[in-house]
Symmetry: D2
Subunit: 286 residues, 4 copies
C-alpha cells in the first residue's frame, strides 16, 4: 500500500473581511486562474453582527510572494485583510523566561524535532537560570534583569533586542507584566501561557487558588497578551484531572505537563498562521 | 450584547469526486450565481492515490431541490457524486435492538430534545424487552424474533418493514449479524455500535476480553456495517479510563455511557450528512 | 476462565477524625474481631493543620447495624464521626427541577438500570413541564410554584415534603436559590449541578459567559450547596472541547451531555457514601 | 492560609499475599507498634479465584531497613511477598534507545526536574544517534550495535552492563526484541512503550496500521516486557484524537506526545513501587 506523503505546499493565504456573498467563489477562482492548487482550505463566518468572514488556504504552485500584487484588486473589492505566506519561511521566536524551564524546553525540543516549524532566535531571561538551557541548543541568551526601578529600561532593551529580529514573542512562564506601550507595538504577537483554566484563577499563584477552591480538574491557557492581565484572546486550553490527595506541589507537577503541551500547540498554530483574532476571541483552523 | 442565533440554512450540498484543480472555484461560483449564500463549508483532499476530493457546503437561499437540475452539467464535468439535501428534511431511522436499552434511550431522548434532528420511524426488536421504551415515545415497535432457523424469514421481514420507510438503520446493541444480501441493499446506511475500541476486541464479549487483557482504558466504536464483522468504516470512537479495581460488570456500566454517547454522535453526523465513506475510512466534517 | 463476580458487601463504615497514629490498626482490628471481612478500603490524611483522617471501608459479614454499639468506645477514644451503613439500604432522593429535563432523565434512567443504587422518592418542580417525565417512571411529582412573593411559602412546602421522606436533595437544573434557613437544615445534603467549570462563570447564563470569553473548553460542576452561590464544596467536574464555530446554542447542547454525566457521578458517589466534606473541599473515594 | 507541605515519608511497604481476613489489622498493628505512622495506604483484593491481596503503605518514623527483620514472622504467617523500601533510595534506570529521542528526552528532563525520582545510570543504544542527548545530561552512553548475527553477543554485553548497576530497564523506543533468556533474568523489570493502544496494532508500524484501519483515536501503551511480543502486563495507556486529515506522519507527531507522557507515568509509578503484577494484569496504586 502507498501511504500519503506529507503534502508539499508552496504557500498560505489568510483572509479576513466583512462577510458577504461571493467571497469564496472570488478567492478560489483567483487561485485557480493563477495556477494555484488548493491543498487545504478552512473558512468561518461569524454569525453575530457585524458578520465577519475568515479563510485560510494552503496551496501548491506559484510562490506566495508572486500572488500579492495580482490579488490586490480583489482584496480591495472585498475590504480584505489578506496575507500570503511562503510555507518555507519559518517565523522567528523570542522566548521570554524567568526560572522555570519546562515550557522553554518543550519549545526547544519541538523546534529541533521539526514538530514546530519555527526558529527560536533568542531566549530572554530576567534571571540567568535558563541560560544553559538555551545555549545548549545553540540559541543566544540575553539576560535583562527587571526590577521595579529598572522596568522601563528593561522594556527598552527588550524592544531593541526583538525589533526586526523576531516575528512573535512567547512568554514561557515569564513572570513579568508587559507595559501597555510595549503591547501597543507587539499586540497580537505576544503569546502567554497561564497556569490555570482561565478565566478561573487569573492572577498570581493559580495552583494555590485551585487548591483552595478544591477543584477536581486543573488546566492551562495559552492566550494573546493584552493590557488587561490574563484577559486576552484564548488560543488553546487543556486540563488534567486531580483529586483530594493532590497538594499544591502535586498540582504544579501535574500542571507543568499541561502547560507545556498547551503552549506548544498554541505556538505551532500561530506560526502556521492558523490563528485569527476577532475582538476577544480567536478563530483557530487546526 | 447580541448573541449569534442558530443560523438558518436552506440546504446542504455534499460532493465527492476525483481531485483536480478548479473544483472549489466551480462549485462556489455555481452557488454564488444561484443566489445561494455559503453559511459553512468543509473540504478534504486525500493525498494517497487516487486522489479524491470531498466537500460539504451549508447554504442559505434557494431550495436544495431547485439546484439539482442546474448543477447537473457541473457534476458531470467533474465526475461528481453530488447530493443536495433540504435542511428541514429529517432522515428517518429504524433502530434495531435486542435487550439492552441505553443506546435506544439515548437516541429517543436526543430526538425529543431536538439535539438529534431525525425521526425515529420504528424500533425493531428480536426480543420484546424494549417494546415499552419505544411506545412510551410514540414510536411503533415491531417484534421480529430471530433464531438460526428463522433468520432468513426475519431478514425478509426486516427488509419489508424498512423499505421506503427509513433512510438509515441503527443497530443499538442489536446482537445479530446481518447477512451479505441485506447489506448489499443497505450498505453504507447501517450504523452499529461496538462496545470496544476497535480494532481491539472485535467479536463477542469485548468487556470480558478487555478485562482479560488488563487494559487501562475501554472504549466504544460506531461504524458502518460491512460483511466482515466489526471491520467496517469507523465513524466515531471514544474511551473511558478504568483501573485494576474494575471488574467486567464495572466495565459494562462504565462502557454504557461511552457507547450511547459515541453512537448518538455518529448518528447525528450521519443524519446531518457529515460523513463520507472512502474505502474503509470515513471523512467526518464535524 | 472464571470472572470475578460483583462482590457482595454487607455494609460500609465511614469515619473522620483528627489524625493520629493507630487509627487504621484500631479500626481494622475491631472489624477483624467482629468477623467483618474488609472487601475494600480507602483512607486519606490531610496534611494541612489541623490534620484530619478520613476512611471508608466496605465489609462483608455482620450487619452494619449490629456494629454501631460495639464501635462506640473506639469512636469516642479517637473523637470520630463514624457511620455504619447497610449496603442494601438505598438512599432516597428528592429531585428538584424547573423546565430542563436532561439531568432528571439521566437520574431516572440510571436508577432504573441499577447503575445508580438509590430511590427517587419524589420530583419537585416549580413548573409543571417535567411532571410527565417523573410519573412515566412511577415517581410522584409535586408542583410548588415559586415567585418572589411566595418564596417563603414554597420553601415551607419543600421542607414539609422532604422531611423524613428523603436523604438527599438533588437540584437537577433547578433555577432557584435556596435560603440560608433551608440550608441550615439540609446543609451537606443538597447537590447542585452548575453548567460551568467553576469557579469560572459562576452565576447566571454561564454558557453565554463562556461564549463571551472565548474559551476552548466548557465544563460542568456538581457541588454541595452552601449559602454562597456556586461556592460550595465541589464533588465532581468534567469538561468538553468546543471551538470558534460553537455558538451559545451549541455550547448548551454540548454542555447538556457533560452536565448529566457529572451530576449522575456525583449523586452516585454521594449515595454510596464516597464523599466526605472538609471545609470547602471534598474527599471522594471513587 | 498554610498549605500542606509535601509529606516526608521514611519508607514504603509493598505486600502481596493470598487474601484472607485479618491482614490489614495485622499489618497496621505491626506498623503502629513499631512507631511507624501511616502517611498513605492503598489496598486491593482481587475477586477472581485464587483471591489475592495487595497493599502499599507509605510510612514515617523508623527506617525501612530496620523493619525487615521484625516483619518476618508476620510475613511468613500470611505467606506474604513483602518489600520495605527506603523512600530516599532512588531506583537506577538503564534506558535502551535506537534513533528516536522523544521518550529518552522526557525521562532525562523529568529526572532533572525532580518529577521522576530516579537515577538514569546509563543509556544504551544500538545506534549512536542519541549519544549526545545522554551525555548532555551527564549520563554515560554505551553503543551496543545489534545485527541478526551479533544479537547474542549484544545481549551478553547488555547483561554485563546492567548487572548490579540498574534496577529497571526502560525501552524508550528501542526497536529490538529481547530474548527469552534475557527476560528470564529481567522479567518484571523491563518496561516498554508501544506506540499504539494495545492490543490494537501490536507489532510493527502501528501508526500505519492505525491509518489503514481509519481509527479516530490513537494511543500508546506502557507495559512490562514478556516473551510474547507486545503482550505483557499493561501499566498505563493514553490516547489522542485524530481525524480524517491526519496522515501517518501526523499520527507519528501526535503520537510522540502520548508516548512520552505514558512512558514517563509508567516509569514513575514503577520507581515509586506503585505497580504490582498479577498474571497478565497490573495493580497500580497511583
Amino acid at each position: 500500500m502507498r501511504y500519503p506523503l506529507a503534502v508539499s505546499q508552496s504557500g498560505r493565504l489568510v483572509v479576513s473581511c466583512p462577510d458577504r456573498p461571493g467571497i469564496v467563489a472570488a478567492v478560489s477562482d483567483f487561485l485557480f486562474r493563477q495556477g494555484a492548487n488548493i491543498v487545504h482550505s478552512d473558512q468561518h463566518s461569524t454569525h453575530d453582527a457585524p458578520e465577519q468572514f475568515f479563510m485560510r488556504v494552503e496551496f501548491q504552485g506559484p510562490s506566495a510572494d508572486s500572488l500579492v500584487e495580482p490579488f490586490r484588486e480583489l482584496a480591495n473589492r472585498f475590504e480584505m485583510q489578506a496575507r500570503f505566506v511562503p510555507s518555507d519561511r519559518h517565523k522567528r521566536l523570542a522566548v521570554f523566561v524567568s526560572k522555570e524551564d519546562h515550557c522553554l524546553q518543550e519549545l526547544l525540543w519541538q523546534v529541533r524535532s521539526g514538530d514546530l516549524q519555527a526558529e527560536i532566535s533568542m531566549v530572554v531571561g530576567n534571571h540567568r537560570d535558563l541560560e544553559l538551557s538555551a545555549t545548549a541548543f545553540g540559541v543566544p541568551f540575553f539576560h535583562v534583569p527587571v526590577t521595579p526601578d529598572t522596568k522601563a529600561d528593561a522594556e527598552a532593551r527588550h524592544l531593541e533586542l526583538v525589533a526586526n529580529q523576531v516575528d512573535v514573542i512567547v512568554l514561557a512562564r515569564y513572570m513579568q507584566i508587559l507595559s501597555p506601550s510595549f503591547l501597543a507595538i507587539w499586540g497580537g504577537k505576544v503569546i502567554n501561557i497561564h497556569h490555570s483554566f482561565l478565566p478561573a484563577f487569573a492572577g498570581a499563584r493559580p495552583y494555590h487558588q485551585a487548591y483552595d477552591r478544591g477543584v477536581k480538574i486543573i488546566g492551562a491557557t495559552a492566550h494573546y497578551v493584552t493590557a488587561e492581565l490574563d484577559a486576552g484572546p484564548i488560543i488553546e486550553q487543556d486540563v488534567h484531572r486531580v483529586d483530594h490527595g493532590s497538594d499544591p506541589s502535586d498540582l504544579r507537577r501535574i500542571g507543568r505537563q499541561t502547560e507545556r503541551a498547551v503552549l506548544a500547540r498554541a505556538v505551532r498554530w500561530h506560526v502556521e498562521d492558523r490563528v485569527l483574532i476577532r475582538g476577544n476571541r480567536t478563530v483557530v483552523f487546526d
